[in-house]
Amino acid sequence: MMIEEQFWETLDRAALPARVGTLAKEGWRLVQICGSCHEAFEILYSFDKDDRFLSLRVAFSKDDPVLPSITESYFGAFSYENEMQDLFGLKLTGLKLNFNGNFYRLAKKNPFLDTPPAVAPAPGGVSS
């Protein structure tokens, strides 16, 4: 069994677009963007270049669900970012192709926002 070596970097969301811009110039390929939300938002951006796998970790509070988009550097990120917008109720700024929360039409608004075992949705929720 091969366990791939994976590299991590933690950075602030304000520094994200610049860092991603550098990666794009260096020729890294965007592999995936993964959002998760437990105590706080944690967004992972993964890139790949010459078999090197690098993930950027961006964490921020639930009270301030705003994130800069990286579609300036990687247009292909629009699908991930629209998905996060729908599932987590995040607000992406500078998103190039914005579905405004209509990428998925869901039975429940922002289903990934509430963490188990807390079943009841937060009062007020996140407005669209």
Partner: protein, 359 residues
């Protein structure tokens, strides 16, 4: 400048086996822009990992998609095994490789058939699926299921394949390969097939890389990236190299798949030759803790599983980035500037798997 019209395409459409909706912005016969709207198959199964036992999740992971089912469960299990630092038996690794190559052949044959149907070559469609059925019989004989294999579990595989069955399967595969060779010849040499695919839907190398294309869509544009190069399971012990084509058009993507089927036949033979006796599963110790990205090569391209566990039997986060999700932006790029009548063929050449994409 002509007048612009928007033509809705899908979700229920004769050429689409699955529901996806595209708004095609047209200028006469030319597509100016394509805007997808998805969500018809969104089942929210990533969220289910928080409620289900991590071993039970293997069944759900397998049902992300019924076409690439085996590799989905294999990828999920590999991710969990990496968290548990679990060394699984060699025989199980080889069986996993054999099954995943079988599922690659079955998926590519399915794709060849659907593509032939999309450009109106009915008899070629039927022949591709006729050959595919023989492979499904083999899959059923070795794994017990036709499309949902249900054999992969955390810690190994659920059933062994005895030597006699394996020998018979190899014989049948050899016969199958001979039959497939004839069909492959039609796809690569027939004039009417060429006319529908050559020079259509070109994706240049730079665009493929920049837009994050994966799988045959990426390799058809000349980039030699195949996640099997990471040498997961026993791919490191087998002799193979990623297949690429330079042209970047529909024909190139088709040729990549055609050659990959031959490669898969070869990989199965190699794996069956090297397989050793032994157990096929180990006991699972404890619960997963930590986080890991497992990357595998699906028939449609690289797939990424992210798992995060906190030491309980439920995962904290399970995320799948499926190949079709990554291939959507390149598809929109290819569709720009094509003719309306080419849209079905172009959409099919990225081998869209909507249930994968939306999970």
């Amino acid at each position: 400048m002509g007048q612009r019209t928007i033509i809705p395409f899908g979700p229920q459409h004769p050429v689409l086996p699955e529901p996806i909706h595209l708004d095609l912005v047209m200028e006469d016969e030319k597509v100016v822009e394509a805007i997808p709207s998805i969500g018809f198959i969104h089942r929210g199964l990533e969220k289910m990992a928080e409620k289900k036992d991590f071993q039970e999740m293997a069944y759900i992971a397998e049902r992300i998609c019924g076409i690439c089912s085996f590799i989905h469960s294999m990828g999920y299990c590999q991710a969990i095994e990496a968290l548990l630092k679990l060394e699984i038996p060699k025989r199980a690794e080889y069986l996993r490789v054999i099954w995943s190559e079988m599922s690659r052949i079955h998926s590519h044959l399915l794709w060849l058939g659907l593509t032939a149907d999309a450009f109106g070559f009915e008899s070629l469609f039927m022949h591709s699926w006729r050959v595919r059925e023989k492979l499904l019989d083999l899959i059923e004989e070795t794994s017990g299921g036709r499309v949902i294999f249900g054999v992969c579990k955390v810690g190994g595989v659920r059933r062994d394949v005895d030597a006699e069955t394996l020998r018979r399967a190899l014989e049948a595969l050899a016969a199958l390969e001979a039959e497939y060779r004839e069909i492959a010849g039609v796809f690569s040499r027939d004039a009417s097939v060429k006319r529908r695919m050559t020079g259509i839907g070109v994706l240049p190398k730079e665009d493929a890389r920049a837009l994050g294309a994966v799988g045959p869509t990426l390799r058809g544009s000349g980039v030699a990236w195949d996640a099997r190069r990471l040498q997961y399971a026993v791919y490191g012990e087998l002799d193979w190299a990623p297949i690429t084509e330079e042209a970047g058009d529909c024909q190139a993507r088709c040729l990549v798949r055609i050659r990959e089927i031959f490669q898969s036949f070869d990989l199965i033979r190699q794996a069956a030759g090297k397989i050793s006796d032994g157990p096929v599963a180990v006991k699972v110790p404890g619960n997963p803790r930590g986080e890991y990205f497992a990357r595998l090569e699906q028939p449609r391209g690289e797939v990424v599983y992210y798992v995060k566990g906190n030491g309980t039997k439920n995962l904290q986060r399970f995320r799948v980035r499926t190949p079709t999700f990554a291939n959507l932006p390149p598809l929109l790029k290819i569709l720009q500037g094509c003719e309306l009548s080419d849209v079905p063929v172009i959409v099919l050449t990225i081998d869209p798997c909507i249930s994968c994409a939306e999970r």
